[in-house]
């Protein structure tokens, strides 16, 4: 089974993504934990794409999120500049409120909630696969 959705890299599109994942929950028999983990990871990855697209001044960048079963996994593809989020340095969790900086927690959450993370550059696209075994 494979379902996918293609969205514009805009913050306004993110609620649609969450609603889409929720709508897939029955046919993929997602339990509450899997549903949360997938919604969380796709939101973090998509929010990063939106921020990168804004910084690059790209108009109308798109990304596609696909959900597949057996094993349960999510693939996010975008045609932006090559970026491997699995190699991005994770911030060391700030120890004190004085030293805390904003941002950087999203990828840390993805590495905590996805059981597998795999990146490939395929035909000029970034392809990130996240497993939820």
């Amino acid at each position: 089974m494979l379902q996918s959705i293609t969205l514009t890299a805009e913050f306004d599109e993110l609620p649609k993504l969450a609603a889409w994942v929720e709508a897939q929950a029955p046919q993929f028999a997602l339990d509450a934990r899997q549903l949360y983990a997938i919604q969380l990871c796709v939101e973090e990855v998509a929010a990063n794409l939106v921020m990168h697209a804004r910084r690059a001044g790209q108009g109308a960048a798109h990304f596609t999120v696909a959900l597949e079963a057996d094993p349960l996994r999510v693939t996010v593809e975008d045609d932006g500049p090559a970026f491997d989020p699995t190699k991005a340095p994770l911030p060391q969790g700030p120890a004190t409120l004085e030293s805390v900086r904003s941002g950087g927690l999203g990828l840390e959450l993805v590495s905590g909630f996805a059981s597998l993370r795999d990146y490939a550059r395929v035909s000029g696209k970034n392809r990130l696969t996240l497993g939820f075994g």
């Binding site: 913050f11 509450a32 973090e44 929010a47 700030p94 805390v100 905590g112």
Partner: protein
């Protein structure tokens, strides 16, 4: 995403959040949350009504706690749902802002 707040008899300010604290939810309450946090010395954030929390929501909580900290104020988080608690722990947020499941404990944490 909704934010409301009230003063408790103990002098603690209770900020109650309800809904999805995702990118759009965080954008909606960010300014008001920052203002209420910065204007009070002892704040308990009721997360019981928060169904979903992602990194932008964490940022809202952490920046609020940080601005309180610079004025010797304190914030505590109260009664998150299990998955929301897992996000708080996985991200290291609970090392920055203490978490309580019991309201008396939450008030004690911020009154010191």
């Amino acid at each position: 995403m909704d934010l409301s707040f009230e003063q408790l008899a103990s002098g603690v300010t209770m900020i109650s959040l309800k809904g999805r604290l995702d990118v759009t939810g965080a954008m909606k309450i960010d300014v008001q949350f920052a203002a209420v946090a910065a204007g009070n010395r002892a704040v308990v954030v009721d997360l019981g009504g928060v169904e979903f929390l992602a990194s932008m929501g964490l940022r809202t909580l952490i920046m609020g706690a940080k601005s309180m900290h610079t004025k010797n104020g304190r914030m505590a988080l109260w009664r998150p749902q299990p998955m929301v608690e897992e996000v708080l722990v996985t991200s290291g947020t609970t090392t920055l802002i203490p978490l309580a499941h019991d309201i008396a404990e939450a008030e004690r944490l911020v009154l010191g």
